[in-house]
């Protein structure tokens, strides 16, 4: 069943076309990787799905309902969560409060005015799932880079989304952290639909099966890693731009 359908999506900033007639369908339960050189439009695509950027043309439907005109928080309430390239957590709140905040968007204003004495079970459960239980009562500002990324994913899970959009979740992580993130992703993918923007070839090789390549605002091709690597246009694009970083033997 198709969860998200993007039809003929175009986004322009002045003269610059960031997304050029994109058509993309995500089915329920999919784990899709999105790659492409800088400026390909990967982040713009996520921004447009989540309401941060408005489409110039085309439309996006989610569960068969159009969402591209909704404000950000309404899109989020419909079940679409996202992270950012540089992780944004609420540094002055504890790790537990960061997650708790993500679970409460459905509460009415007066329900928020209460000060709960104990943490809800869901918060404990999610802390456990992402491995942040030892940091429950620490301020988010004290977390390491990798832990912040996991906290952000934990916040997403707490909001109970169906679709997760992750913008470079392993950027800046060390090998151990990458492995843990990969395992976390695989585990979450069992009950969520996920789109991951990622550059790291090693990470892609280990975890990516479905890859969509974006270039200059258009979808270049789609397939598994071998198909992508042997695709002449992809080779040309990557060799032309950043051969040392992206192209692998």
């Amino acid at each position: 069943m198709s969860l998200l359908t993007i039809t003929d999506l175009t986004v322009t900033f002045g003269d610059y076309t960031a997304l050029d007639h994109i058509n993309l369908t995500l089915t329920q339960g999919e784990l899709r990787f999105l790659i492409g050189p800088n400026g390909a439009g990967k982040t713009t695509l996520i921004d447009t799905i989540t309401g941060r950027t408005r489409p110039t043309h085309g439309h996006i439907t989610y569960n068969n309902k159009p969402i591209h005109h909704l404000p950000e928080h309404r899109i989020a309430r419909n079940g679409i969560g996202r992270t950012f390239q540089t992780s944004v957590v609420f540094e002055h709140l504890t790790v537990a409060d960061n997650i708790d905040l993500a679970t409460t968007h459905h509460l009415r204003p007066w329900q928020l005015l209460r000060a709960p004495r104990t943490l809800p079970d869901t918060v404990h459960h999610i802390l456990d799932r992402v491995g942040l239980t030892p940091h429950t009562h620490h301020k988010a500002a004290t977390l390491s880079h990798g832990q912040r990324q996991w906290l952000e994913i934990a916040m997403l899970l707490a909001a109970r989304p169906q679709l997760l959009l992750l913008d470079e979740p392993v950027a800046g992580m060390n090998t151990d952290e990458r492995t843990r993130t990969g395992q976390l992703l695989t585990e979450i993918a069992t009950d969520h639909t996920i789109v991951v923007i990622e550059h790291d070839m090693d990470f892609l090789r280990r975890y990516a099966r479905d890859i969509t390549v974006l270039h200059e605002g258009r979808i270049l091709t789609h397939g598994d890693l071998t198909t992508i690597q042997n695709h002449p246009e992809v080779q040309q694009v990557y060799l032309g731009h950043t051969p040392h970083q992206e192209h692998t033997p």
Binding site: T50, R52, P71, E72, H73, A76, R77, G81, R82, F84, V88, V89, F90, E91, H92, L93, D97, N98, D100, L101, A102, T104, H105, H106, L107, P109, L112, L113, R114, A115, P116, H137, H138, K139, A141, T142, M155, A159
Partner: protein, 370 residues
């Protein structure tokens, strides 16, 4: 959160609060002469304003450079009632009109003034008018995602416009002279020491109640949401929260506190005029909070008390230099202790008692709001 005496730590806050409250209510009225007690009551009115500013600015990140307006709305509502009461009880006043209106040649009470003959209406207006104006302004502005310096400037413009309105509508407001000389409230002589002690007690109790209420708010999920919005408003949206109403609520509550303070201030001070609520007084209100510590309710309230006390004391001894001293103090605080006096005490406490590292992190100034 210290590892030594958890029970002691838990009760330290409530014990301090009750001790301070008891001292303020029972001890100070005995120790201070009526004149000093009246001054203290005035400062405490500014402490109430400070609580509100700490909520909106410290917690919510909304730099409110126009709280004089809300203070003024509360103050004028109360002053209008007291003015009418004086006119009604003045045997020499045959028209029943306030004196300044007779000068401008009015023959009957303006429509705007008529409901203010009722004390209940005046007090209700003092509370609700600031709340309503702040809700209206807040909702329309926050919905459009106006924040930071733009919001601050908008507030300041509001304060400037409000003063112009008060001066311009002299036949309704008493113009630059404002409203003054309120001998009675509900038939009670306001100039007696008993009346002044009662007003002082009322101010202390209001301050204490609002402190507890706002403290509860900041600790609730709502308070955490507000902090989250302050630090990363966009992130909050992608978690499904609409930042508009939490910000509007904090701003409206903050305005309400200022309105209540204004209503208390009038019978204590005996005058309200545009010079007390314009741009400069509005900035002074924020300044006091910055010096006391905007992230701490208690710090903000103390800051307002100290700054206003210092103003009186220094203005008595060397009047001219105080303004410069105040400016210098502000610069020093912003440069060296951005979390104000409250931040300094926390740092000091942490130096004296070793605590686990995670409890020693304080909110850092996240944006240059100052």
């Amino acid at each position: 959160m210290t590892h030594t005496h958890p029970t002691l730590t838990r009760w330290r806050g409530p014990i301090t609060f009750i001790t301070l409250l008891a001292a303020a209510l029972l001890l100070l009225p005995l120790l201070l002469e009526p004149f000093r007690l009246n001054l203290l009551a005035q400062y405490l009115c500014y402490s109430i304003v400070a609580l509100g500013i700490a909520l909106a600015w410290g917690r919510g990140g909304m730099l409110t450079l126009g709280h004089g307006v809300y203070f003024g709305l509360g103050a004028y509502a109360m002053a209008m009632h007291l003015t009418l009461e004086r006119a009604a009880h003045d045997p020499l006043n045959t028209t029943g009109l306030p004196q300044f209106m007779q000068v401008t040649g009015a023959t009957e009470l303006p429509l705007l003034w008529q409901p203010f003959t009722s004390a209940t209406f005046a007090i209700t207006t003092a509370v609700l008018a600031p709340a309503a104006l702040a809700t209206l302004l807040g909702w329309s502005v926050f919905r459009q995602r106006v924040k930071g310096a733009y919001f601050a400037i908008l507030n300041q413009a509001l304060a400037a416009a409000f003063v112009l309105l008060l001066i311009g509508q002299q036949h309704l407001t008493g113009g630059t002279n404002g409203l003054t000389d309120f001998p009675t409230f509900a038939g009670h002589d306001l100039y007696t020491p008993t009346a002044q002690t009662t007003l002082y007690t009322l101010t202390v109790l209001t301050l204490a109640t609002l402190y507890l209420a706002f403290r509860h708010l900041t600790r609730s999920r709502y308070g955490k949401l507000l902090t989250a919005i302050r630090d990363a408003e966009d992130r909050v949206r992608y978690l499904g929260h609409d930042p508009t109403w939490p910000k509007t609520l904090a701003y409206a509550l903050s305005a309400t506190a200022a309105g209540i303070a204004g209503a208390l201030f009038v019978p204590i001070m005996g005058i309200i005029s545009p010079t007390l609520i314009g741009v400069i007084p509005s900035i002074m209100m924020v300044l006091a909070v910055a010096i006391g510590g905007r992230y701490s309710l208690a710090g903000a309230a103390t800051g307002a008390l100290l700054i206003n006390a210092a103003q009186t004391t220094f203005a008595e001894t060397f009047s001219g230099t105080w303004t410069y001293l105040q400016g210098a103090l502000f610069v020093i605080v912003i440069a060296l202790a951005p979390q104000g006096l409250a931040g300094l005490t926390t740092t000091l406490k942490n130096h004296l008692t070793p605590t686990p590292p995670e409890t020693t992190t304080h909110p850092q100034p996240h944006k240059a709001h100052t």
